[in-house]
Subunit: 315 residues, 4 copies
């Protein structure tokens, strides 16, 4: 990243959970923050140097992987994930000041937010009509315009904090109180975050052939070195039915010997495997590594083999 104030882009508009995630990055509050219309656009800004890094959602505990992110980062110029951020997904019902719940006939929000608050509305305000919006924040901000077709919006808490002219009619209206979304901060290839001992490595691995053995061979590259997977998502390559790539998060850092060996094995089996970065886990939980999978064990094994080859240099 440049020495000057960094420029961040993020999945906008302002007031989304993604901006909340970005503001958790040290220095982001003072930085230039450029909203982008979708994940692909945000990553293109990074690729073209218009931004130093992009914050985009990759995974939601309720909805699953975010296809647009998974696809946008798997294709195009190489990028690196340098940080992950977890944001609890809590929804508020907001309206113009003075609005009462019984006045609301139409509520607007993004489809995902609507899906995650249906039970609250069924229990507390059944029969309300729903108007789709491009984002939760857009639905809320539109309330301030004259002639809005809706009287309330479902959005992230950040909106009411930054728009005091909106009133919170109900807080924590999500159906799943433990819902959390995971965001990644993505930059161009460059210096990798140092290993912290509790790291994650993200990979894109095309399934080389259409047989179950191929996926098992891929998984075995991790399992045989004791590398645990914390996320595995399948995505179609778009070429034909049954042609997939896998988006995988593995516990450990590219500087760990067991991860390097797993990476090399993956490259042999699926040469188009993409390395998307090693970075600190948001939860700072270190993995359990068996002694025979430690850096020391790999170094000892390499030393032993080198000794065999040196002593037995072909005569």
């Amino acid at each position: 990243m440049s020495a000057a104030a960094p420029r961040y882009t993020y999945l906008g508009p302002e007031g989304t959970f993604t901006e909340t995630a970005l503001l958790q990055v040290p220095g982001a509050e003072e930085a230039v923050r450029i909203p982008a219309g979708n994940a692909r656009i945000a990553l293109e800004k990074v690729r073209h140097g218009e931004a130093d890094a992009a914050m985009i959602p990759i995974e939601n505990s309720v909805e699953g992987g975010v296809p647009a992110t998974l696809d946008a980062i798997a294709n195009g110029g190489e990028l690196r994930i340098i940080r992950e951020v977890l944001v609890p997904v809590t929804f508020q019902l907001v309206a113009r000041k003075g609005t009462r719940l019984e006045d609301i006939t139409v509520v607007s929000t993004h489809g995902h937010a609507w899906a995650q608050t249906r039970e609250w509305f069924d229990a507390n305000h059944p029969g309300v009509d729903y108007l789709t919006a491009s984002s939760t924040a857009a639905a809320a901000v539109a309330l301030l315009e004259d002639g809005a077709a809706h009287q309330a919006a479902v959005c992230a808490p950040i909106v009411s904090r930054t728009h005091p002219e909106l009133e919170v009619l109900a807080d924590n209206i999500g159906d799943n109180p433990d819902a959390v979304t995971r965001f990644i901060l993505v930059s161009r290839p460059g210096p990798m975050p140092r290993p912290t001992g509790a790291d994650k490595t993200t990979l894109v691995i095309p399934l080389p052939e259409d047989h179950p053995g191929a996926l098992m061979e891929i998984l075995d590259q991790f399992a045989s070195r004791g590398v645990n997977l914390s996320r595995i998502e399948s995505r179609p390559t778009g070429q034909y039915l049954g042609h997939y790539f896998f988006s995988i998060d593995a516990d450990g850092h590219a500087h760990d010997a067991r991860m390097q060996q797993a990476l090399a094995g993956l490259h042999r089996i699926s040469p188009a495997t993409r390395f998307l970065g090693s970075y600190a886990r948001a939860d700072a939980q270190p993995p359990v590594v068996a002694p025979h999978n430690s850096d020391a064990a790999f170094a000892a094994a390499e030393h032993w083999v080198a000794g065999i080859l040196r002593d037995g240099a072909a005569g």
Copy 2:
């Protein structure tokens, strides 16, 4: 299904690719056809007896698995897939009669259709504005109403066939000419389609624990009996990050011995495994089965073990 004319529901409205898929089912043309607002609603109609079967999309060669379908069939009352239908995804640009391409400033369609025709618009009519619609058919039919904000729609060919008042401005405008969507016909549990020799079995398998070994154990249940997988999709259970179920299509029928053994193994490892049905493959391609995985081999093995137990009945 009832002896009377069957009642089908499908992901509506009329004129979608899903209706095209439904019309490929023998007798569907004369049957009652009830459009449903989403996959969950369609399946609920089947569960409650309001329809005999539902046609819904499960997988698209470009977009991947359809999350709403995967989730709706994985939860709730048990259902059975009894047929699969493949429909090529071809898009038309339609407008009211007399409209010329250069007159179009706003085009409307479903988000997926827009994503799959972007290249055509960039090349043939750059700069056009896009208005989201709830379905491709809805966007097209809305053109016939006065005061529509858009002048053209992207939709399936079925719409212009049933609405002669619409004009086709351009055909086959999809970016990927080989795009295909796979649909499934879903009914309540009942008699299974007979094995044809080229069958598919669909399963929902919750990952029992958060470790890579569990997924490998699951895959091994298939691999160790020579059962090939043609689709594997991960989906979050919605409980917490990293908690998945897998939606899997496996080659073969529940009446095949190797599939029965794989099913039993899956039930042991992941007791909440769900059987979603065995049915004929749309492409009628039979699997290659090694002699030691044939029904005959399983029968011989069972006979051998039975002989050991019988001859050696505990004294």
Copy 3:
């Protein structure tokens, strides 16, 4: 076995460790005991009905598997192991009464016994000459004949107990004080010993093809059902280099569901697999069985699959 007093054969002559093993079988003391020249002869006596059962050594903690036994039981008419017996291998140095250690210039015993007492002789009577004998007992008994070329013999303690005219010059002269030999009691196929909860199953499994995958597939039949192996020995089939069969002891009884499934899987992969019996472990140590490999888990899985097939009987 016949209702009359059973007739046992064993690897003779009298006074060997094998007779010691046989005498641990309840009732053997009063039974007819027929020494046999080698394991093959002993088993042939059983096959032909000349004996009800044969006691032969199968494994020694120092020397390994006994090839003659492994080969003799793997070929020819089917037989069943019905019991195992462990005998500590302790050696005595015996001589005619009045002989002193310093009088001994030549010692005789079986080659194995000589190999296991070399350290004692090196330390206590270096330079003594060694004369090969066909068995430890034969070497000892020959001392009582006139004109014997040797003055001492190495043999099992049973010999001095039954031949008071021999004197024990030294006891426990084996180099490995924990040495133990495992013996098996073999009968014709018939009622199997009841499961005790701590059982062993012995198998002969020809390696179907010359590739490492075949052995892994065989081992996976056990591992995928959580069946532990306590012994694995490779033996050539005698046909050509690199053609093997494996002699395996697995924890569990043929009446255990996990063992039945493993047996069936082995039969598919290697149809010439031979079942040599299930019987109580001499050490009475029960195996640790994970819940998903229990009889209950297998029964539940079978019940589940049966339900799928019954409810969905092809229409």
Copy 4:
């Protein structure tokens, strides 16, 4: 090996199949050849510098692995196999000149040879008595001494060639006409034979723990890199029942990348793994190596990982 005429030791005495094997080594005919009483003694001569190399049998197509060799090379100072030799096992029946078959009442030979010619005697000279000898050659040579208790011997063809005073009564009397014994030439660690493209690597791998998973992990080190095994023998370590090491021949040379990776993996899992050498296969058959297991694939994978680490050197 020293520049002077090499000194070879071998499992003697003169006239055994082992000497036949040694004479196939270029230059052995002119070299010093020192018979040794057993494999352990032969290897000790090499370890102590009394011989430059030892020829000993390792495997017989009928009898299997030679335990004495497997154990003697697995323990003690490190040694290297530098060559393998295959010798067909053909037996002759020899006697003093003038002896007729019907004159023979006692025949002598080594136990293994007797076992492999039983069918011939049963068919051609039933009822003959058998006298054990320490080697086939010793039995034959003893015929030339006065007062021999036997009138004929079973031995290798080399004996009658070097002792014209013996007459061959019958040739090729072995029960298995394809029987072959494999011998190895063993030296102190030093320059390794160059890779020929058709090589073999011999290893001693202690089973790290008593569970089936350990053996599968070991086999997976080979299988996951496409390394085929041509021999696998289990041997007890002698410590307690169920404690094994495996003696393994794998296709390929330590200079092959896939073998180096397999060796490193074995060292991690079983740090006491012993490398016994890489050398040309006697049959010169090259292995089939899949593209993703080739040296080029390993080099490309390593290059890719190095690039990731270099470009992303921790900032």
